[in-house]
Structure formats: structure tokens, C-alpha cells
């Protein structure tokens, strides 16, 4: 009853969450001795490299750092929307046109109706594994741009696709 009344009358602002998030960010910089801009650049470059090999949904991609016992772990949660048959060349890569269906069409057991399915970007991140195992045609996905990386949400999700870790210096 008391709880109910409190919920009813108290303002929803929870500054403790802000405090926790701020602490997370500042301790990451403290531990890695990396400037926040450097961390942002690292995220951007990482997503760019991954998108060379697989089609990703940069709008829902999320790269975070997490403090483990005595180390910092980098966790990348990147929804994969399709597999590239041939990785993009490393050589000068500017804004490519959307890959042609033949280029990205899955080679084995590909559902023919893939093109009719909704855009992969609409999928929840939890479904990314399923998406990765049943790739779809890619013509609907625009190539990722820098702006979309910068706009990626910062909130951490539980599911981790890639986990790289190493000892925290200092």
C-alpha cells in the first residue's frame, strides 16, 4: 500500500541511475586511460571493420565496456542482418551502392521468400542470432554510414555477440 502511494506521488526521476551511468563511463576512462573521444572512435572503427565482413544494423549496434573483477571487458552487441559472400575489399572504400542481390544471396538453403521479409533493422537485438543463421537478401539495407554509428544507442544490453577482453592497465 505504501509502495503504491509512493509510486503514485513521487516524481519518476531517478538520479541514482544517472549517477551509476556516469560512474561507469568515468571509471572506464580512469581504467583505460583513454579519452572519451578515443573510446567513441574505437567503437566507430570497430563497427566499420565488422561491416566489411557481415551486414550489420548499425542503428542497433552497441559497443560497451564493462568492469570485471580486475579487468575491463569490451562487449560488442552487433545485430547481424546478413552475411556478405565476399568481404568488401580493404582498398579505398567509399560509399558503395547497395550490393546486388546476386552478390549477397545466401548460397545454401536460402529461403526464396527472403526478399519479402521485413527489414532486418526492425528486429529486436535478441533475435540477431536467428537472423545471422538465416541470412536474408540485402538490397533493403543501406550501407552503414558514420552518422548512424554515432547515433547508436548507448544503453547496454545483456546479450553479447562479441566479447573481447584483456587486462586493464594500471
Amino acid at each position: 500500500m505504501l509502495e503504491f502511494l509512493k509510486k503514485l506521488f513521487l516524481p519518476p526521476e531517478r538520479s541514482s541511475e544517472t549517477a551509476k551511468e556516469r560512474l561507469r563511463v568515468v571509471l572506464l576512462s580512469d581504467h583505460l586511460s583513454l579519452a572519451p573521444e578515443t573510446v567513441e572512435a574505437l567503437k566507430r572503427d570497430l563497427l566499420e571493420v565488422i561491416s566489411k565482413y557481415v551486414e550489420i544494423d548499425p542503428a542497433h549496434a552497441d559497443v560497451t565496456f564493462e568492469q570485471r573483477e580486475r579487468e575491463v571487458a569490451m562487449l560488442a552487441n552487433v545485430p547481424i542482418t546478413g552475411i556478405r559472400e565476399r568481404p568488401r575489399p580493404t582498398a579505398p572504400r567509399t560509399e558503395e551502392p547497395s550490393p546486388s542481390p546476386q552478390l549477397v544471396a545466401p548460397t545454401v538453403d536460402a529461403p526464396q521468400a527472403a526478399a519479402d521479409e521485413p527489414p532486418a533493422a526492425a528486429l529486436a537485438p535478441e533475435e540477431e542470432a536467428a537472423v545471422a543463421s538465416a541470412p536474408q537478401a540485402q538490397e533493403k539495407q543501406p550501407p552503414p554510414t558514420r552518422a548512424s554509428y554515432a547515433g547508436a544507442p548507448r544503453r547496454r544490453r545483456r546479450k553479447k555477440t562479441v566479447a573481447l577482453q584483456g587486462p586493464a592497465p594500471g
Binding site: S16, L27, H31
Partner: protein
């Protein structure tokens, strides 16, 4: 200055031997209590645990925690000495109500101006609790680390627990306080600055230490409203074994005013929380010592506050 230099050259052994040879006057200790350690030609191996109470940030409750934890451990029959390592800002004596009994201090012992027995102050309430006060008119830089290490080792021969009240900061005073210790208790309040400093201090401690955490000054009402970091939030960041949680209660201020640690007050929730922490430290697993702030003493008070419409 000359004395210091000489002492520095001869190093730890000089201090240790002086301390050992000065053990005789212990016999003259007040009656009714066995002397902590009979004078022996060969000093016993150090058996006590030396624990530094540290935080990085000032004003989070290191001294209060040291005083209460020491009092609670002594009440359990342990032989405890509290060492105020905050040279220049002596406070532990006044929190314990022992300020009028201090004759000699830490630097007097380190510089061989007084024996350890002359400098150790017996607590008013418990015969098994002693205090070694800090120097008030000296500076932290005056302490030679090797001497401090030797002193703590000697105290570990005489006492079961050596609790070292660390100064704020991470400079020489911190390093000296940590030097002779084997374990650390981190005191942290649920504030961003305290958590960040605690994290920094943990990074400065030896890698094989696994410091315990006490979260102090928790206000359950504010935590419930999302206006204060919860104990879980704090430890999500710090990830240390949680030794205990202490709620904020006006009783602490009153107790400090009087120089009477709450650990002896059977009616105080804070006192109960410190006694539970002492039990946990001594190896008796206290039931849920502090996983929930309500257990630590703010409990009934906070509930009452909620009934009355919140603080």
C-alpha cells in the same frame, strides 16, 4: 633530522629490536587483565591481522568505522590496537574519548623518543583495546615507511587485530598506512565521488589483496526513491566482498560528540551493524550482515520515517 637519517639507514631492524626490548613495562599494566605479551628474549612470530581502513576520499567515515570496529572486536574478547596513521590530523583519540590520555604518539615511537608501551593508550571501556595516536604537530612525510612496517609487525606480535586508520588521499600517508598491513577494508558512501575514489584506492593496493567493502551512510529512504545509489549499485561498480552496510543515523554524531563508540550501545542499530561486521571479520558468519540496508540499523528508523511521511 640527524636522528631520522640514522634511523633510516639502520632500517626496520633497529626499530623492531627497540620495540621488543621495551616490552618489559607491560608487567605494570592495570591489574585484572593478563598482560598482552610477556617480555621474552625472542619475540613471538607476528600472529595478529593488520588491517588498514581506507577510502581515498575524506569524510566517508574511516575513523568512525575504525573506532567502532575496534570496539566491537575488543568486546568479543580480541586483543585490538587501533593505529591512527593520519599524522597531522589526529582524530581517532577524540572519537574514542581518549584524547586526555594521549602522552606519546606514533612518531615518538618510530623515532624512539618513547617506547611502545608508553605510547599505547588503554581504552576506558575495554582492557583489550588500545590506541596508538597520531602526531598532531608533524607531517605525514616525516614517517619512514620501513619504520611503520616494523612497528605494525611488532604490534601484530602483541595483538590479535591491528586496525590502521588511513588518512584520506593516496600520497605518502596512504602508502605508510598500507605498508605494514595485510588486508584492507574500503569504506565508501553511496556518492559518485566516494565510489570513484574507492575504485582508485583499490587499484593502488597490492594485487593479491581482496579488500572488503563497507558501504557507509546509506539512506534507505533515498535509495528507494532512486535518489541515492543503492548498495548494489555501488558494488556493481566496485565488485568487492561486502562486509557490511551502515545506515545514516543521527546517533553517530551524538556518539562522536560524547566520544563513545556506538558499537557498545545495545540499543543502537548502527552498533549492531558494527558488531555484525566484527563477527564476520572474526570468522563468525553473522546472519545477513548488511546485504540489506534495513538490517544494518536504519531499518526500523527508516520504516518509522516512512510511516510518518518520510524524512
Amino acid at each position: 633530522m640527524t636522528t631520522m637519517m640514522r634511523a633510516f639507514e639502520t632500517g626496520a631492524t633497529a626499530v623492531a629490536s627497540t620495540l621488543a626490548s621495551a616490552a618489559a613495562p607491560v608487567e605494570a599494566a592495570p591489574v585484572g587483565q593478563p598482560a598482552p605479551q610477556p617480555a621474552q628474549p625472542q619475540p613471538a612470530p607476528p600472529h595478529g591481522r593488520a588491517i588498514v581502513i581506507t577510502s581515498g576520499k575524506g569524510g566517508v567515515g574511516k575513523t568512525t568505522t575504525t573506532a567502532n570496529l575496534g570496539t566491537a572486536l575488543a568486546a568479543r574478547g580480541q586483543r585490538v590496537v587501533l593505529v591512527d596513521a593520519d599524522v597531522g590530523l589526529r582524530n581517532l583519540d577524540i572519537v574514542l574519548g581518549l584524547e586526555s590520555r594521549v602522552r606519546f604518539h606514533l612518531l615518538d615511537v618510530l623515532e624512539e623518543k618513547a617506547s611502545l608501551d608508553e605510547a599505547l593508550v588503554r581504552d576506558k571501556r575495554s582492557d583489550s583495546l588500545s590506541l596508538l595516536a597520531a602526531a598532531q604537530t608533524r607531517e605525514k612525510e616525516d614517517v619512514v615507511t620501513a619504520h611503520m612496517t616494523a612497528l605494525i609487525e611488532e604490534l601484530r606480535r602483541r595483538f590479535d587485530y591491528v586496525l590502521i586508520d588511513c588518512p584520506a588521499g593516496i600520497e605518502k600517508g596512504f602508502k605508510n598506512a598500507v605498508a605494514g598491513a595485510q588486508h584492507a577494508i574500503i569504506v565508501c558512501t553511496p556518492e559518485v565521488s566516494a565510489v570513484r575514489d574507492a575504485d582508485r584506492v583499490v587499484g593502488l593496493l597490492p594485487n593479491d589483496w581482496h579488500p572488503d567493502l563497507i558501504v557507509n551512510r546509506v539512506r534507505p529512504q533515498l535509495v528507494k526513491k532512486g535518489k541515492m545509489l543503492s548498495v548494489e549499485d555501488v558494488n556493481d561498480i566496485l565488485r568487492l566482498p561486502l562486509l557490511g552496510v551502515i545506515a545514516e543515523e543521527p546517533g553517530v554524531i551524538v556518539a562522536t560528540n560524547k566520544g563513545e563508540p556506538l558499537a557498545l550501545d545495545p540499543a543502537s542499530g548502527i552498533g549492531a551493524a558494527y558488531r555484525a561486521i566484527a563477527a564476520k571479520l572474526a570468522g563468525d558468519e553473522a546472519p545477513s550482515a548488511g546485504s540489506d540496508p534495513a538490517v544494518s540499523g536504519g531499518g526500523w528508523f527508516a520504516k518509522l520515517g516512512a510511516l510518518l511521511g518520510g524524512r
